[in-house]
């Protein structure tokens, strides 16, 4: 017996508080915070319930048939549970961070309203049971993030938001076209383990190749695949919690998640391999990984360096999907979670430096480890994880990707991983060196004292510490039940069969 309400309730648990928040007067600070936290915690409880249910074999399915062939489906399979859990946990943390970060800035009702809608859309993407529903939430996500990127209202914010919108919406239209084309050929596109296309007549295969490129282009914009990544560094103008959300939880991750759905649940990884599509995906992923790392090297702005690092790191997910075989799949999927945890930590830390000391450039970071030791510790965990130093989560990813590549005979991917890790080290280690071992300057660019014994506002300090601990935990306890790795193993086992 399928439970028709839970997936819908999970989406609405942030959408409804979000809608209410818009109507709140600016000075209703407590009510807004209460609504935010209520939504975030309530969603977490619902997701916990769903994990328990999915583990025990319950089926969750909300659906609304609009017209024959047009059906909105929200359902929970193992993959969606993975992404839902990630975004729900990180949303709670980011909400706390954002409340601290935006304490005294204007237009908070508008900000938190869209913030909640953004997470609702992400959760909707995670729970989408077919491509139509996926696109619906994918576009809502674009719509809800635009105001967040433009939030500051400066000319740079305006420009960044426009570029963001132009990229993502063009991608959306291309994605829509590809989806409709595919649906015209083979009917409703419900996400199915093993894919839908392997039984289709062979005469359609050339069209499937074209459609794959359309869909990949549409998803690749959000996943920041080179050459479609141009919006991401521009969108850095957004406030730090938004950057954290865009990079770790919502937008970029939605694109990567879409690519995973495309390869595994629409085309089927073996069918896509048969058409030679995985090689193309792998080539794009490889180019993106190298390009992002190389660009990150030359950025002095901390947030831009992190942005290019995202461009590079998210493509590990696509790389995992492009290598045939369960081990590489595990490496790619688990990075969905690991990259989220590590990258959000890094963005929280970057926000703390900016908010507490006015530091925006890497070159200004000399000796920050003494002024903000805990923040810098979290930054160190995140950065080492990105490089792939054990026991942080990033190591697990790279280990499985490497093993998977060896297993599939894709030795170029191993070389790629080594090169990328060296580059990661080259752009992260100097930051750590400056922060810990260089003497601090006589004064910080714009120091802000908070009325607390801690090094900065507690709402800013706890989130990076929590996510840093989670990144460590995901690596240390990778073999524990319910760890991201174990969950992903389950997904891979289902995709490739026993």
């Amino acid at each position: 017996m399928a439970d028709p309400y839970l997936p819908l309730a999970i989406v609405l648990s942030s959408a409804l508080p979000g809608a209410l928040i818009f109507f709140l007067d600016e000075e209703f600070h407590r009510l807004r915070t209460a609504l935010n936290l209520f939504g975030a915690i309530f969603k977490l409880i619902l997701v916990g319930w769903m994990i328990w249910g999915v583990f025990h074999g319950h089926v969750y399915l909300s659906h609304l048939e609009l017209l024959p062939g047009l059906e909105l489906i929200l359902s929970a399979d193992a993959l969606s549970v993975l992404f839902v859990t990630l975004s729900t946990v990180l949303w709670l943390v980011t909400t706390i961070y954002a409340i601290g970060y935006l304490e005294h800035s204007p237009n908070r009702s508008r900000f938190f309203g869209f913030f909640s809608l953004c997470v609702s859309a992400t959760v909707g993407i995670a729970l989408s049971g077919n491509l139509l529903t996926f696109i619906v939430f994918y576009e809502i996500l674009t719509l809800a993030t635009y105001p967040l990127v433009a939030h500051r209202g400066t000319p740079e914010a305006d420009r960044g938001a426009r570029i963001y919108l132009a990229y993502t919406m063009t991608g959306g239209v291309v994605l829509l076209t590809g989806a409709v084309w595919l649906q015209t050929l083979i009917g409703p596109l419900n996400f199915t383990q093993g894919g839908l296309l392997s039984t289709a007549p062979e005469s359609l295969h050339p069209q499937f190749i074209w459609i794959f490129f359309l869909l990949l282009a549409g998803l690749g914009v959000k996943a920041a695949l080179v050459p479609l990544h141009g919006w991401l560094p521009q969108a850095m103008v957004a406030p730090a919690p938004v950057s954290a959300l865009l990079h770790a939880v919502a937008v970029v991750k939605a694109g990567a998640f879409g690519i995973v759905r495309l390869v595994y649940d629409l085309y089927g990884v073996e069918f896509a391999y048969g058409l030679g599509l995985l090689d193309v995906l792998g080539a794009f992923a490889a180019a993106t990984i190298l390009y992002g790392s190389l660009k990150a090297l030359s950025q002095d702005s901390l947030k831009k360096r992190l942005a290019y690092s995202t461009v590079s790191q998210v493509s590990y997910i696509a790389l995992g999907a492009s290598i045939l075989g369960p081990i590489a799949t595990i490496g790619g999927l688990v990075h969905l979670v690991h990259q989220g945890l590590m990258k959000i930590t890094l963005f929280f830390c970057a926000g703390n430096y900016a908010e507490t000391l006015g530091i925006h450039q890497v070159s200004e970071m000399n000796g920050v480890g003494r002024r903000l030791p805990w923040t810098t510790l979290a930054l160190t965990v995140g950065a080492l994880g990105m490089i792939g130093v054990p026991p942080v989560a990033g190591f697990v990813t790279k280990w499985y990707l490497g093993l998977g590549a060896a297993d599939a005979g894709a030795y170029w991917a191993i070389l790629l991983l080594i090169a990328s890790s060296l580059l990661n080290a080259a752009y992260f280690l100097p930051i750590l060196y400056r922060a810990w071992f260089r003497p601090p300057p006589p004064s910080w660019p714009e120091e802000h004292r908070f009325p607390t014994r801690l090094e900065t506002d507690p709402a800013l300090l706890w989130p990076p510490l929590i996510t840093a601990v989670l990144s460590l935990g995901a690596g240390l306890f990778a073999a524990a039940p319910f760890s991201p790795l174990e969950w992903v193993r389950l997904i891979a086992a289902r995709e490739y069969g026993p």
Binding site: F22, E27, L67, L70, P106, E139, P147, A150, V180
Partner: protein, 476 residues
């Protein structure tokens, strides 16, 4: 038991008469009549959903001498949307015109227009359609000129004359049909219609005349100045409802009356005009310097989408394909009606606050009216066709039909039109994000702002997700 069809026409007519008699109570009587009309229209829609279709003969006079009314699913769907929009416009107008001299003229004319609209959806013969079209055109032109500026009077004079030419052309077509078939009843004429020169001429005259009224490219040139110069609530009604009535009649005649003789190449011609309208209208909207002109050109583009359906309906492989295209057509039209009304109402609020509607200088004005800006954003998103608006699902079906029937060239037109729409909507919304703080309250004038906002919410969340009940109403 009162006849719901007659009531739907009688409420606005009574409103017009009573306000003329008691102008001091205009706003109160207006809201009363608006609520009455809307309730009876929704009553008609629910009754049609239950029983398939409703008919009545006014005063018990038999056809052909009496006037008959009929509501099928298509008519009921439009009747419901139009009355909801008109209710929103009325509530908004009760604030907008509260202390302007124009209110003495606005209310009677507005209800006259509303009467004409309701009668138009319910008319069942070709001549009553002519009368309602003319009544609609006259009251619309008079309303459009209410702002009294030179610009608005000359634009609406042009609209009036062109509308008159359009309806005269339509009437000649009706006369030709009467010569050939001796009847004016839609159903009877449709049953006996045979291909031939007089039927073809009648078809060309009637569709041509209506296309002029519907502002189908290249006959759209009168629309932008007329709609951009009228007071905002009137622009809302003109763009959302009046133009929609004409394009609705094009579809109705095309499918019901001329189904036997309207061939694929004629449909293709209308479709090409529609495609050109999409591109041209969206491009002009993108270039428009004034907010209302932008909205008006966007209407030209949206009418284009509606015309683009005709060749695809003609090429649909089976009844199911036709039915889903019809539902998509209705979804698009209803969404546009709600969204464009909301867009114009919100535009009016912005214009009242700033004293102008030049997009480049809107700046903080948009930010000082969060509810109105929100309405603009939601309505704009529905116009672009972002999900889950009705436009999104309509475009999905449209693209699907284009690919399935091999008429793939519509796909780039739709893609480009969507991106252009995105450009013109966000060119505007980007102005809402300035560094000035928003006012402490989300809503400043509840009736004026919430009416716009609710229409936008309906456009964005109501129509698309209610596709199933709408399809049921249409009987497919």
């Amino acid at each position: 038991m009162l006849d719901p069809l007659a009531l739907a026409v009688a409420w606005p007519l009574l409103g017009a008469l009573s306000i003329t008699l008691l102008p001091r109570w205009a706003a109160h009587l207006g809201i009363l009549a608006a609520v009455g009309a809307t309730l009876s229209a929704l009553g008609v829609a629910f009754a049609v959903m239950d029983s398939g279709s409703l008919t009545s003969e006014l005063g018990g006079w038999k056809i052909p001498l009496g006037i008959g009314l009929r509501a099928d699913g298509l008519a009921a769907a439009f009747l419901a949307m139009v009355n909801l929009v008109a209710l929103g416009v009325s509530i908004h107008a009760s604030v907008y015109f509260a202390d302007s001299k124009a209110r003495h003229h606005f209310w009677p004319l507005w209800f006259l227009l509303w009467t004409a609209l309701n009668a138009l959806w319910l008319a069942r013969d070709l001549f009553n359609l002519y009368v309602t079209l003319e009544l609609m055109g006259l009251s619309a032109a008079a309303l459009g000129a209410l702002s009294g500026t030179r610009e608005s009077i000359s634009a609406n004079l042009r609209y009036l004359l062109l509308g008159l030419a359009g309806s005269m052309t339509y009437l000649l077509g009706v006369a030709l049909l009467y010569v050939a078939y001796g009847s004016l009843d839609l159903v009877q004429v449709a049953r006996s219609l045979a291909p031939g020169p007089s039927s073809a001429a009648a078809c060309a005259l009637m569709i041509g005349g209506l296309s002029l009224k519907a502002a189908l490219f290249p006959l759209h040139f009168w629309l932008p100045p007329a709609h951009a110069s009228a007071p905002a609530p009137v622009s809302a009604a003109l763009s959302a409802l009046v133009v929609k009535a004409a394009i609705y009649l094009v579809l109705r005649l095309w499918l019901d009356l001329f189904a036997g003789i309207a061939n694929a190449s004629a449909a293709m011609l209308l479709g090409l005009l529609g495609g050109s309208a999409v591109l041209w209208g969206s491009w002009q909207a993108l270039r428009a310097e004034r907010l209302k002109l932008l909205a008006a050109y966007s209407t030209v583009a949206q009418i284009g989408y509606l015309a683009m359906f005709l060749p695809l309906i003609a090429a649909a492989a089976d009844e199911r394909g036709r039915a889903s295209l019809l539902v998509a057509w209705v979804l698009l039209a209803l969404t546009h009606g709600l969204a464009k009304a909301s867009f114009f109402l919100a535009t009016g609020l912005v214009q009242k606050t700033t004293g102008h509607d030049r997009i480049a200088e809107l700046g903080g004005a948009a930010q000082s009216l969060p509810a109105a800006t929100f309405a603009l954003g939601l309505a704009g998103a529905a116009l672009i066709g972002l999900p889950p608006s009705g436009t999104f699902f309509a475009k999905w079906i449209l693209i699907q039909a284009a690919i399935a029937s091999g008429q793939w060239w519509w796909v780039p037109v739709i893609m480009l039109g969507t991106l252009l729409a995105l450009g013109y909507v966000f060119r505007l919304l980007a102005r809402a994000f300035t560094r000035e703080p928003t006012p402490p309250h989300f809503v400043t004038s509840a009736r004026a702002e919430l009416s716009a906002l609710l229409l936008a919410v309906l456009a964005m969340l109501g129509v698309g997700l209610a596709a199933r009940p709408i399809a049921n109403l249409l009987g497919v």
